[in-house]
Structures are given as structure tokens and as C-alpha cells.
């Protein structure tokens, strides 16, 4: 199992431009996020408003030796984790759907836990909207990912993307509004059909 030293070393190497380090880091991060998710809820079963960003920060603390990292390293780690977190949440729902359809295997589920009973989740709609936004304005989509799935501060986002904090603030507010409108699907609100 990878200890803090490994990850920290990989992070440092990655932020120094070693692409191999990223390839090694990613699976570890995915796995840690999955484990943290399970752990957090086991400890706080009543917590129904778990922020994914909490998971990301928890993973960060568990995986790295923070004394060896600069704030830049930290921001880059969180950016990576934001991507992973988004992917994990989306994959989860997509796989549930696949499992529900059968896919050649039968899975016994306890009564009341049937995935077919669950409503189509808004997170999928959000992901679709984010993908649409990516096509129009990739930087805005990235800003949202960092903010909502990684919990990066405005300053950290600015650091990662190499833009000013003022720009980050503007991008967030516009993208939030645009996405939320997409999510709610009230397109008739939009002027014209552009």
C-alpha cells in the first residue's frame, strides 16, 4: 500500500513536470477517494449533505505529507482529485444503470435497494451540462469542476489555471448560472433559440 511518502514524492515530481508521476498517481487517488467515501459515511451515517470536496480534502490529508508540499503542489493535487471525484460520481451512476440493465449478469439486491427504483440523478444532468459547457468554453467548465468537485479556493483555481482571481470569480458566477439553467431545463427562458 502506498504511504504518504510515495504520494508526496509523486506529487512533487508531477508538479515539476514528470508525466509518468501523474500516471502513477491517478489510480492511487481514485482508490483513496473511494475508500474515504466509505469511511466518512461509516463514521457519520446521518450525514446526508456530504460535499465531495470534503472527500477530496480528506484524501489529500491522508495521502500526502503536507509539510513537504508547497501551496502550488496542493492546488495541483486538488485539481487532479476534482477530476477524479467527478469521474467517480458519474461512473458510479452509469455503472448502476448498466448493472440494472443486466449486462449478462444477475446481481441480487436487497429489497428496497433496487437501482431501478432510483430516479435519474441530477448529477448525470449536471455532467451532461458540464460537457456541453466544455465544448463552448472549456475554461469555465474547468473552473466549475475545480470549485465543486475539488473544493479549490478562488486563489487555488487561479494558480492552477494561471489566471487572475478576479477572472476566476467572474467565470464561476457566469458558469454557475448557465449550468443551473441547463440543469433545470427551462429553455423557454432563453431569449431566442441561439
Amino acid at each position: 500500500m502506498a504511504g504518504p511518502t510515495d504520494i508526496t514524492g509523486l506529487l512533487v515530481k508531477w508538479s515539476q513536470g514528470d508525466k509518468n508521476a501523474l500516471a502513477e498517481l491517478t489510480p492511487i487517488l481514485y482508490d483513496e477517494l473511494r475508500r474515504v467515501a466509505a469511511r466518512v459515511v461509516r463514521h457519520e451515517p446521518q450525514n446526508l449533505t456530504l460535499q465531495p470536496t470534503d472527500l477530496v480534502h480528506e484524501a489529500f490529508i491522508r495521502l500526502t505529507d503536507q509539510t513537504r508540499l508547497t501551496s502550488k503542489d496542493r492546488a495541483h493535487f486538488l485539481a487532479l482529485a476534482a477530476r477524479a471525484m467527478r469521474q467517480i460520481l458519474i461512473d458510479h451512476w452509469r455503472r448502476r444503470r448498466a448493472a440494472k440493465r443486466g449486462g449478462g449478469i444477475k446481481i441480487s439486491l436487497e429489497a428496497g435497494k433496487d437501482v431501478a427504483a432510483a430516479a435519474p440523478p441530477e448529477i448525470i444532468a449536471l455532467d451532461d451540462a458540464l460537457r456541453a459547457l466544455e465544448k463552448i468554453d472549456a475554461r469555465k467548465a474547468k473552473v466549475i469542476e475545480l470549485r465543486y468537485f475539488g473544493g479549490l479556493t478562488t486563489a487555488e483555481i487561479a494558480e492552477v489555471l494561471g489566471i487572475s482571481t478576479a477572472t476566476v470569480g467572474r467565470e464561476i458566477r457566469f458558469a454557475q448560472a448557465w449550468l443551473y439553467r441547463e440543469l433545470k431545463g427551462e429553455r423557454e427562458d432563453r431569449g431566442g433559440d441561439r
Binding site: 515530481k13 502513477e24 461512473d91
Partner: protein
């Protein structure tokens, strides 16, 4: 959408106007929009719409992701059946449910999807810092070695590769079993059964070594015992696939990653090259734990660093004096077995058994009451080894030597052997005897068999003369006498057979083991019959049938299983005698 210059311009204008409006208090926005849009009603409507959503969007989006995260997390925690890897396809297989979680990753139950027959497999998704492309390359390189391992006690590796999200995986034969340590504990196996299990394990590891595959991560969790008491070693050679690249190992100190500290050899921990003795070391630690019920450094298991220090500094107390551990088991561990275990787990690789096969051989010798290679009596051990290496020695002679050596050992180390003797060596001896009997039955070298029984009796006599024999040796005496009688009959030496059988009957009577007595009586009956003493033979057969209870297992006492069947059948036809014979 933003595919054309026109679209991009439009998008930028919306952004600009939107940003301008945000800078103003809400009361001033309407006027601003009128002015900024300069009559472009579409633009104005678009920005107004976005502004309406802006006020609630942050809260709304937070809620969406928080709900998704909470649902995801609670399902991860409460329902492993719906883990995120469920339904995932890896190569020709699909993940069905989770089996176990460990430091190396998660193990899932999987099924084969590209075929009609249902092949159930174990799929290991590995949590590793290893790049998946490197893993796949290595797996391909190692595959032929791993695939060459065909052994009933080694689980097959079926496939390997990497998942879409870049995690290495390995597909293995699915084994339903318990780790050897829990298996022994749950079934309360006695010492001899435990030694035998570890002997099987060591032989399997020896087999892999001969095929140039090291395990590198032997631990109880990788040694499973099925309900049918079949030992299966899993994860053979996998540790090598997962080793960090050498240059990385230095930089990231990640070479620890796939070690199981409690069972890894000192050279592995030091990052030095591994060799067969490294596996032997792990076997030694496991052996210690299996025999005593306690890991040699149990108190340090949760603190790997201390464990390394301890393993590097101190030799643990011999298993028989292990602090803690099962007293019942420890009482029966003698100094020979102590030495075998300590030799296997020696810190210096050159002081260990060179191969797992050698360890297996010593365990077998111990089980069969023979002097072990590390025992106090080097002379005997050397003798034994010479004989074993001598290809001229027929099987029967080998067994004769086995018995002879065991008995010589008895004479010199009576106390130790006696303890073992009482731990029901009868079945073991019967196996040796079966071997000789098989030689007899298969028309093998009768003379060699006869000689071996004669040797057995000679050593027993010597033991008696040395004052080292007692009643504990009587079953052996009865068996060897009976065996010698059978051999003599085969050689048409009726007189000799009769004398031997009579002695066997006398000894067997004193022990009170019906099966042994019955065998001796049948031999005596046969000898009398051969000499023409029909009524004497009849008397012996009847007495034998009186001793034999219906359904009694005679297989251990008869020259062949067929003979046992014949006896039982014979006795069913013989009416029971009213007055029991002496």
C-alpha cells in the same frame, strides 16, 4: 454551439454584459441592460435569464453534487454489492461482487462473459503506483512462467491486464477456502496435521521454485485450505509483477508497498535481491504461527517498523517456548521440530534451507518419526541422506531404512520420539507398512520387503537391549512381526512365518488394539494352514473374527485394502463363537 466566429462573438457579448450587470446593485441592472444591449432584445433576454438563475445557482449546484456524493458514499459504506466496480468488464470477465479488500487492492468474484459455460474466477484489482502499461508489459513477459505452474496446490493465473481507468488487474482461479492459520484454529487440528499441511505447502512452493517462480509474498492469506482440506497457494509470482521499477523504488521508497512486513524476509525488507530462501523464510514464519497459533513477533505486528527491528535483531524463542500460543500444541513440539522451524526462519539466507523442498523433506521426516537433517544426530542424518540419494535403494529398502533410522533414533533419543509416538504415529507407520505390503502384493521384491521387516524387528530388539523400549513400541513390533510373517509366507517359509505370526499375536494381545490383533491372527492362521494345521488355522480365523467388529477399519492393519475386504467378508460368513477365546 460555439463553433462559428458568430457564436463565439455572441457568447463573449453575453459574458460581458452579464459581468457588467453583476458589478451593479440589483436596482441599477435593468437600466444597465437596456443600455448595454443597445436594442438587441435577444441578448438582453439571455442575460436577464442568466441573472435570474445566478442568485440560486450556487446553492442549487452545491446541493446536486452533495446529494450525489452522499448517496455514493453511503452505498460504498453500506452495500458492497453495489460497489462502483460492480459490472465492470475486465478482459473476458465481468465483476459480480466483492470478495475481499486488502493492502494490494480489492478482490472480486467474476464470471467469464465470452463463453457459454459459467467460469467463476477471482479478479484482483490492484491498487498500485505502478503504471498500468508497464504492468501489462510485465505481465505478458511473465505470463509463460506463471502459466507453466500446473500443480494441484497452486491456484492458476488466468489473465491479466488493465481496466479502462488504468488499474492493473489479475484474474485467478477462484478458490473458496480459509487462510491456513484460521483453518487450523477453527478445525482445532493437532500438531501432526498442521505439520502435514505445511509440508504440502512447502512442496508446492518447491515445485514453483523448480519452475523458476518465486512467490515473494507468502503469508497465511495466500495459503488457502478448502473445505475438502485441499491446500491452494494463491498469488504466485504476482508480487514480482507489482514491484516498482528499480529507479522508482529508490526515489519513492515504494519498494515496501507490496511486502507483507510480518512475513517478508530480512533481505526483502532491505531491498536486496530475493531467492528461494526468501520464500523459505516466509514459510518458516508461517510454520511458526501455524504450529504455535501465534506469530513469532505477535506483539509487534501492528507496528511494522518495530517488527523489522525485532526480526533483524533477535532470534525468536523456539516454537515450543513461544510466549503465548496454544499450550496444547506447544507441549508436543520437540527440539527437532523447533530446529526445523528456526532453520527455515534464519536471518541469514545461507543458514536457511536452500529450497522449500528441503524444508518439506524435514517436515515429512519429522512426521514419520525419522531424524531430521538439523537433528542432534548428524551421523544418522548423513546416513539417511546417503541412502536416499542412492538410486539402487528400492522403495522397500528405503522404507526399511526409514524404520531402521526411526528406531535408531528411538534408541538414542527415546524421550523425544516417545512423545511423538504417542501422538498417534500408527497411521504413519501403516503408510510405510502399506508401501511394503504393496511391494508384496504387486509381486515386487519380496526379499527386500522381508529384509525391511527383519530390520525393523532387529532394531526393536536392540532398543529393548538398550533399555530404551517400552510398551509404546509394541504396536510397531506387532506390525513388523505380522509383516515379516506375510513376507515369509510369500517366500514359502511356513515355519518361519508361523514363529513370526505367533510372536505378533502375543504382542498384539498385550496392546489391546483389535485391528492389530486381527491382522496378526489372520497371519498366524495362514501360516498354520500352510503347514497343514487346518483346525489350528480355523481356531485363529475364528478368534480373529471375534475381534473384528462389523464395519471395523482394518485397512491399516492388513497387507492390502483388498485383504481387509476379504477378511471382513470371510468373517460375515463365520458364525460368532459363543465362548470368547482368551
Amino acid at each position: 454551439m460555439a463553433e462559428t466566429v458568430e457564436d463565439r462573438d455572441w457568447w463573449r457579448r453575453v459574458e460581458e454584459v452579464f459581468a457588467g450587470a453583476l458589478d451593479l446593485p440589483e436596482a441599477d441592472r435593468a437600466a444597465y441592460l437596456e443600455k448595454a444591449c443597445a436594442g438587441d432584445a435577444t441578448l438582453q433576454a439571455e442575460v436577464q435569464s442568466l441573472l435570474r438563475y445566478e442568485t440560486v445557482s450556487q446553492e442549487g449546484l452545491d446541493r446536486v453534487v452533495a446529494e450525489a456524493a452522499a448517496t455514493y458514499a453511503s452505498e460504498r459504506a453500506s452495500d458492497n454489492e453495489v460497489s462502483s466496480d460492480l459490472g465492470l468488464r475486465v478482459g473476458r470477465f465481468q465483476i459480480v461482487r466483492e470478495l475481499a479488500r486488502g493492502g494490494m487492492g480489492v478482490v472480486y468474484l467474476g464470471v467469464r462473459t465470452d463463453s457459454d459455460y459459467a467460469q467463476v474466477v477471482a479478479i484482483k484489482l490492484i491498487r498500485s503506483g505502478l503504471r498500468s502499461d508497464r504492468f501489462v508489459r510485465r505481465f505478458r513477459a511473465e505470463k509463460q512462467f506463471l502459466a507453466s505452474l500446473h500443480h494441484p496446490n497452486i491456484a492458476m493465473i488466468l489473465d491479466g491486464g488493465s481496466t479502462p481507468d488504468g488499474r492493473p488487474y489479475i484474474v485467478l482461479e477462484y478458490i473458496e477456502g480459509d487462510p491456513i492459520t484460521s483453518y487450523c484454529r477453527q478445525r482445532k487440528l493437532d500438531l501432526s496435521a498442521r505439520v502435514q499441511l505445511m509440508e504440502t505447502v512447502s512442496k508446492a512452493v518447491g515445485y514453483a521454485h523448480r519452475h523458476r517462480v518465486l512467490h515473494r509474498d507468502l503469508k497465511p492469506e495466500n495459503i488457502l485450505v478448502t473445505r475438502e482440506e485441499v491446500v491452494k497457494l494463491v498469488d504466485f509470482g504476482i508480487a514480482k509483477l507489482l514491484e516498482p521499477d528499480s529507479e522508482h523504488a529508490r526515489q519513492t521508497t515504494s519498494s515496501f508497498r507490496f511486502l507483507t512486513p510480518a512475513y517478508a524476509s530480512p533481505e526483502q525488507i532491505a531491498g536486496k535481491p530475493v531467492s528461494p530462501p526468501s520464500d523459505v523464510y516466509s514459510l518458516g514464519i508461517i510454520l511458526y504461527e501455524v504450529l504455535t497459533g501465534r506469530h513469532p513477533w505477535e506483539e509487534f505486528r501492528s507496528t511494522p517498523y518495530k517488527l523489522f527491528m525485532e526480526a533483524n535483531r533477535k532470534t525468536p524463542p523456539p516454537p515450543s517456548r513461544s510466549p503465548g500460543g496454544d499450550p496444547e500444541l506447544k507441549r508436543r513440539i520437540d527440539s527437532d521440530l523447533d530446529k526445523v522451524v528456526l532453520k527455515a526462519m534464519a536471518r541469514d539466507p545461507s543458514e536457511r534451507y536452500a529450497t522449500a523442498q528441503e524444508l518439506a523433506a524435514d517436515l515429512e521426516r519429522w512426521r514419520l518419526q525419522m531424524p531430521v537433517s538439523v537433528g542432534e544426530h548428524g551421523r544418522l542424518s548423513r546416513f539417511w541422506r546417503t541412502v536416499r540419494k542412492n538410486p539402487v535403494a528400492s522403495g522397500a529398502i528405503a522404507v526399511a531404512v526409514l524404520l531402521a533410522a526411526a528406531l535408531a533414533g528411538v534408541i538414542w533419543r527415546q524421550a523425544a520420539v516417545e512423545r511423538r509416538w504417542r501422538a498417534s504415529t500408527y497411521p504413519e507407520l501403516a503408510r510405510a507398512r502399506d508401501f511394503m505390503a504393496k511391494q508384496l502384493a504387486a509381486g515386487g521384491d519380496v526379499r527386500a520387503a522381508a529384509d525391511s521387516f527383519a530390520d525393523c524387528l532387529r532394531y526393536l530388539r536392540q532398543a529393548a537391549e538398550a533399555g530404551a523400549a517400552d510398551s509404546a513400541l509394541d504396536p510397531l513390533k506387532a506390525q513388523c512381526s505380522t509383516g515379516a510373517a506375510w513376507a515369509a509366507l510369500r517366500q514359502d517359509q511356513a515355519e518361519k512365518a508361523a514363529a513370526l505370526a505367533a510372536s505378533a499375536v502375543e504382542t498384539a494381545r498385550s496392546i489391546g488394539q483389535p485391528a492389530l490383533l486381527a491382522a496378526a491372527l489372520f497371519a498366524d492362521g495362514d501360516a498354520r494352514s500352510r503347514r497343514g494345521d487346518v483346525s489350528g488355522a480355523d481356531e485363529r480365523y475364528r478368534e480373529a473374527c471375534n475381534v473384528v467388529a462389523p464395519g471395523m477399519d482394518l485397512s491399516l492393519a492388513s497387507p492390502t485394502p483388498q485383504t481387509a475386504e476379504q477378511w471382513l467378508e470371510f468373517c460375515r460368513e463365520v458364525p460368532p463363537t459363543e465362548t470368547p477365546t482368551r
